[in-house]
């Protein structure tokens, strides 16, 4: 049995309480355990089950809190109060919603492919939960520290689109299929800049493991890699289909899109998955760019992680509240023509810097930041110039446009009376005055 996992405080504290008699735990000051010696495999299984239970429930509880918090924040952004009736400050509102959702009638459309229709909510919820396995919540608090952590995130989050497509296809609804096609297009387009944006981070850290990336952040990578952060943040917003990229749900166009035919707890699972994706995205951004659980000493690492997470969530909600939605072609164009180039610039610049300063120390990271920021600003400006086809600088009407002739004083109708049509034709232009007052 590998012993490296005992470095993880979450595992150690549960496993060694169960199987403290083993030599490996005794070496770490655990005197006695619940299971006798030789039963380490059972202790391992039980502690794994406990950890899964803890993480799943923590995430679901977090989702409930997030739904409440998001609605409160929505309210404040829109100068409303938000939910405040049920429970202290309305905190029980989302609990009540959850209960209501569970007790609603579960409808399945007659034309639907029943098996796939029921499978899709599970397919969307499972990967959304799986991502949380590798997120380090604090010092040594994680389920697993994969050495391909970043790849794992990319792979798992892509599964969402598969389940969206499954849901749309199985519900046999044209609007849902339109929405699913948008979802696939979004995924294919944004997966690439998202992955490429992370290349810079991986190059700096020299590893794909999230633990190593946090360790490498002498200063948060948002300062060293502004361009990568910019691209990653936007791509992540698009990946989880939140405004301004909420094309798949597009309330005002598709009226919930692929969710159209779902009711009851199946809908609830989609809803949960969406908010879990929001939390996991915020956690990944925190880990990769805001130096994860790192902070100043007297305050514990979990607090630092939580505070950064909440801040990122706030920014995501702020974005969602402020920006209108982009159109599909604009979104795709933005990914391929804008973000893709930015990531390429970022990779090249980072590679050059790393060739000059291999294995950068903290002060060398500051030097890199000093170079990266001007590069980021200039390249963002340049790319937006390339992308911007509409003349943004002229919201005012064009003074040279032709104006339709509108007479201010009406012609004396007697002038036409009895006159020959040819004469009237001559008179008419005199009577009409162009656009005067």
């Amino acid at each position: 049995m590998p012993e490296a996992f005992l470095d993880n405080s979450l595992w150690r504290n549960i496993y060694c309480v169960l199987a403290g008699d083993s030599s490996t735990c005794a070496a770490r000051d655990y005197s006695s355990g619940f299971f006798p010696a030789g039963m380490e495999w059972l202790a391992f299984l039980v502690s794994a089950a406990i950890i899964i239970f803890l993480i799943v429930n923590a995430v679901l509880g977090g989702v409930i809190v997030l739904i409440w918090g998001e609605r409160r924040l929505f309210g404040r952004f829109q100068s409303r109060t938000g939910p405040n009736r049920w429970g202290p400050f309305g905190t029980l509102t989302s609990v009540a919603d959850a209960v209501k959702t569970m007790f609603k009638e579960d409808l399945v459309p007659a034309e639907a492919d029943k098996i796939l229709f029921n499978l899709a909510p599970v397919l969307i919820a499972a990967p959304a939960l799986t991502v949380f396995a590798i997120i380090p919540w604090g010092v040594g608090t994680y389920v697993a520290d994969l050495n391909i952590g970043v790849l794992f995130i990319m792979a798992i989050t892509s599964l969402t689109t598969l389940s969206v497509l499954t849901a749309a296809w199985s519900s046999a609804n044209r609007i849902a299929i339109l929405s699913a096609l948008r979802s696939v297009a979004l995924l294919i387009s944004y997966e690439i800049p998202m992955a490429l944006a992370l290349v810079g981070v991986i190059m700096l850290a020299g590893s794909m493991s999230l633990g190593d990336i946090i360790a490498a952040q002498g200063i948060p990578f948002i300062i060293v890699q502004p361009l990568a952060f910019f691209v990653f943040f936007i791509a992540a917003m698009a990946e989880m289909a939140r405004a301004p990229f909420d094309l798949t749900e597009a309330e005002s166009e598709l009226a919930a899109g692929y969710l159209n035919d779902y009711a009851s707890m199946k809908f609830g699972l989609f809803f949960l998955a969406e908010f879990m994706a929001e939390i996991s995205t915020a956690a990944i951004v925190t880990t990769l760019f805001l130096s994860g659980w790192k902070g100043f000493d007297p305050i514990p690492s979990h607090f630092w992680f939580g505070a950064k997470l909440i801040f990122v969530l706030f920014v995501i909600i702020w974005f969602r509240m402020t920006l209108p939605r982009l159109r599909v072609d604009q979104v795709l164009k933005f990914a391929w023509k804008g973000l893709f180039e930015l990531t390429m610039i970022n990779i090249i610049v980072t590679a050059v810097l790393l060739a000059i300063l291999p294995n950068p120390s903290t002060s060398e990271l500051w030097i890199m930041a000093a170079i990266n920021w001007p590069v980021a600003i200039i390249s963002i400006w340049g790319v937006s110039k390339l992308l911007g086809t509409a003349p943004y600088s002229h919201p005012q009407p064009d003074p040279n446009a032709p104006s339709y002739p509108v007479g201010s004083e009406s012609i004396p109708t007697d002038a036409v009376l009895g006159a020959e049509p040819s004469n009237a034709a001559n008179q008419a232009p005199q009577a009409q005055q162009e656009g005067g007052n």
């Binding site: 007479g407 201010s408 012609i411």
Partner: protein, 169 residues
Amino acid sequence: MTTPWSGSTLAKAIEAFAPGSVESSAGADVWVKPDSISTVCEGLKSRPEFKFDLLSSLTAVDYIDHFEVVYHLTSLPMNASAVLKAKVGRGRTEASVPSVVPIWRGADYQEREVWDLMGIRFEGHPNHKRIMLWEGYPGHPLRKDYVTYDQSITLSIPDDATEKLGGDE
């Protein structure tokens, strides 16, 4: 200030380019013969002394013995307005009038509405269908002789049958 054409002046002016099309005129109104509506409207729109480029409103009134289609025209270049009327369907039979959609596209929905609610056909309308009510709706509600569905049921069914219907409750 938009000046309305007086009926008699407009009638003379119309007669000048489309002889024999005016039926009568009074006040601000000119009654045009239904079959010459197209010619008159085309002239009013395109001729330089009128330039009625905006069809403000198109509607119809049921005067029991005939229907009257009313056109309110506005000229933006001249800042003038005029009222054209056409008496159609005398004796309530086969009320129809040429469509002005080829001249003013603004007449599209208005003519469909008049057909739907008043039952006047517009010959040559590109999409001559009901607009507010569904296809197969019985009758045209804005006609004065229209009997509502409920009324028609109670009128047509004899009393004992009505009682039988009511007795099911």
